[in-house]
């Protein structure tokens, strides 16, 4: 379906306005939190990171993952992915902007963000990230430049390779935020760094597929079956890989006697158990795998997109269980003792997000959405496939 140009223009402005409004409401919520203090959130001194962090970490992890589409073309020479590299770069910048905005606006002292740039602690993973994120912006911007400016094309491969390396480093940094935490049973394992990388591949590709399909539909085009098949196979592989890492993570944890109580809690005996089995495993893993492997659905763009959307929904469940569930479980300071205090020692904590933090989280998605909507409108990001070339390259490599 192709929209009438006048309607199409109006529809674009409507979408941009909705995105801008959601972003503005999010920023307003952050100002309210800044003015009143975090007392207006559901976060407390036991569950110190809440819904804003779940959404922000999704956006940041998916931002680096979406660049994988570009890397498939520039680093691994897959011609099918090359026309998709500019869109992947734009999405990466849009999502990391939304994610970082949420993280920064949720700070207890958001007004001091400049302090994070002027005071650097080299032992802090957060400190590393303060360097990793701006460089990510720079590297992706240069990469986009080499792709979109004909005279810079000779540098495209080098820029693509640098981007690939940097996005791996960046996601290692994000996973390490939790991997370096010794205090809580849910975290503190080196497995989290590679697991976050594979999660980023999966979630980034899912976001890319949905955005790409939307753009094709907007322009009255249908995603070519060859492209659809390749990308859905890749998505299925990544979904399976995340499942593999999830299984290994929980098996290793459950093997250690000191972590058995936590594993029982998170997998079977808490509000998070349902989110894990239904949200992450059923909705976010098994259903998408079924849709992507079943011949009746796998060849249809609609069902592949449904699978990608389910992967995104599952990702939020996964991060919620990981971040909130990991903090809700009491710290095990005195093994062999039953513990209680006025401050939730020995007790499972409960968290429910308040309206301001929900709006802040949505604001981050709004920022990513608005940047993407305006970006694809102003610049030329719709993939331009040269199918004769792709067919030739595919048959040569297969």
């Amino acid at each position: 379906m192709m929209l009438n140009p006048r309607h199409e223009e109006g529809f674009f402005y409507l979408l941009a306005a909705i995105g801008g409004l959601v972003s503005a409401v999010g920023i307003g919520a952050a100002l309210y939190m800044e003015h009143s203090g975090h007392v207006v959130t559901g976060m407390n001194n036991q569950i110190v990171w809440g819904l804003p962090h779940v959404v922000a970490i999704f956006l940041i992890v998916a931002a680096s993952g979406v660049l994988n589409v570009a890397s498939m073309g520039s680093v691994f020479g897959r011609k099918l992915y090359k026309p998709r590299a500019p869109l992947s770069g734009l999405l990466a910048l849009a999502m990391i902007s939304g994610g970082l905005a949420v993280i920064m606006l949720d700070l207890g002292r958001a007004d001091r963000i400049i302090v994070a740039a002027t005071h650097f602690n080299p032992t802090s993973v957060f400190g590393w990230n303060v360097i990793l994120y701006p460089v990510f912006y720079g590297v992706v911007a240069v990469y986009l430049w080499t792709m979109m400016e004909r005279r810079m094309h000779p540098w495209m491969k080098v820029a693509g390779f640098a981007t690939f390396i940097w996005r791996i480093v960046l996601t290692t940094g994000t996973g390490s935020i939790f991997a370096f935490l010794v205090a809580r049973q849910a975290y503190g394992t080196a497995l989290l760094a590679p697991m976050f990388i594979i999660m980023s591949f999966c979630w980034g590709l899912a976001v890319f597929l949905v955005v790409q399909s939307t753009m094709y539909a907007w322009n009255g085009l249908t995603l070519p079956p060859l492209v659809l098949q390749r990308m859905k196979n890749l998505l299925a592989t990544f979904v399976a890989a995340v499942l593999y890492f999830t299984i290994v993570l929980h098996l290793v944890n459950a093997y250690f006697a000191k972590n058995i109580a936590f594993e029982y809690f998170i997998l079977f005996d808490s509000e998070f158990a349902g989110m894990f089995w239904i949200g992450q495993i059923l909705i976010g893993t098994l259903l998408p795998l079924a849709l992507l492997f079943n011949p009746a659905t796998a060849a249809k763009s609609l069902w592949v997109n449904v699978a990608a959307l389910l992967v995104i929904v599952g990702a939020y469940f996964q991060l919620y269980v990981f971040i909130i569930g990991g903090q809700a479980f009491p710290l095990d300071m005195f093994p062999g003792y039953d513990v209680k205090s006025t401050f939730m020692d020995g007790m499972v904590d409960h968290y429910s997000a308040s309206l301001p933090e929900l709006l802040l989280a949505l604001g981050g998605i709004g920022i990513a959405f608005t940047m993407t909507t305006i970006g694809v409108r102003i610049l030329h990001f719709l993939p331009q496939d040269d199918f004769a070339e792709i067919e030739a390259a595919t048959s040569a490599t297969d």
């Binding site: 975090h38 407390n44 001194n45 207890g108 994070a116 935020i177 039953d338 205090s341 401050f343």
Partner: protein, 255 residues
């Protein structure tokens, strides 16, 4: 851990001891015309740290808490801490209140034995909160006291995620009527300072002073002649979560 120092090998300590002996009869030291520094006669009290001088790395301040003496239901240490440090806010959700020190009740699963103890920042020699702080606001002073620089804390709460003792709190509301010696602020993270302002004046922390049972002993872990070092050398003591090898300044007895 820093090796114990020979008694008298610290020139600053020797100087202060000599000066203290010389003026003990007078009860005060003249440090400038018209300005006097009161001598502190309390046993095992901290040395007075002159304004502008750095904390000494030769000292490692610590606490030894005798859980066997900690009286059930007693909250005098908590009350004293909150009064001393101006921690007065009472929020509808108590989990959002600052928790500089709290009482923990323990029941041994084997024999049902009950114990109570105060829990606060453990002033680790290798503090995870300091490692993870992106701006360096979370810091360890040369004398082992772990603090937060309220001017550079951005309220990211990563230190709260990293602390194995849940000893840190975010100030969730705007504050008024603070104790000028203990600056606090909305959106910053805070924790027990070991009453650093009192220690620098040569006093002991408020919780130690308030304990009616004498269950808390404060002193220099590096000084073998201090009461705390002698006690730690003579009775079994515990570091909570010793598996993490953080080398805490706060030790427990009777666990």
């Amino acid at each position: 851990m820093t090796a114990p120092q020979e008694p008298g090998s610290n020139p600053r300590r020797a100087f202060i001891a000599a000066a203290g002996a010389g003026v003990a009869g007078l009860g005060f030291t003249a440090i400038a015309p018209g300005l006097h520094l009161m001598a502190v006669g309390q046993a095992d009290a901290a040395e007075v740290r002159k304004a502008g001088s750095a904390a000494s790395p030769a000292v490692r301040w610590g606490l030894l808490i005798d859980a066997g003496k900690c009286a059930p239901g007693c909250t005098k240490c908590i009350d004293a801490c909150h009064t001393e440090n101006g921690v007065s806010e009472k929020l509808p959700d108590p989990r959002q209140n600052s928790q500089w020190i709290r009482k923990i009740e323990l029941v041994d699963r084997r024999d049902g034995r009950k114990t109570e103890l105060p829990m606060m920042c453990q002033h680790c020699a290798n503090p995870p909160c300091v490692d993870v702080c992106p701006t360096g606001a979370s810091m360890k002073r040369a004398d082992g006291i772990v603090l937060v620089d309220r001017h550079t804390c951005i309220g990211c709460r990563y230190c709260m995620m990293a602390c194995p003792y849940k000893a840190r709190s975010l100030v969730h509301v705007p504050l008024t009527e603070q104790n000028p010696e203990v600056p606090r602020g909305q959106g910053c993270v805070e924790s027990c300072t070991l009453c650093v302002h009192r220690v620098d004046r040569g006093q002991t922390p408020a919780c130690v002073e308030s304990c009616p049972e004498g269950a808390m002993l404060f002193g220099d872990l590096n000084d073998p002649s201090s009461a705390i070092a002698k006690r730690i050398a003579s009775v079994p003591t515990t570091q909570v979560r010793s598996d993490l090898r953080l080398n805490q300044g706060v030790r427990y007895q009777g666990l």
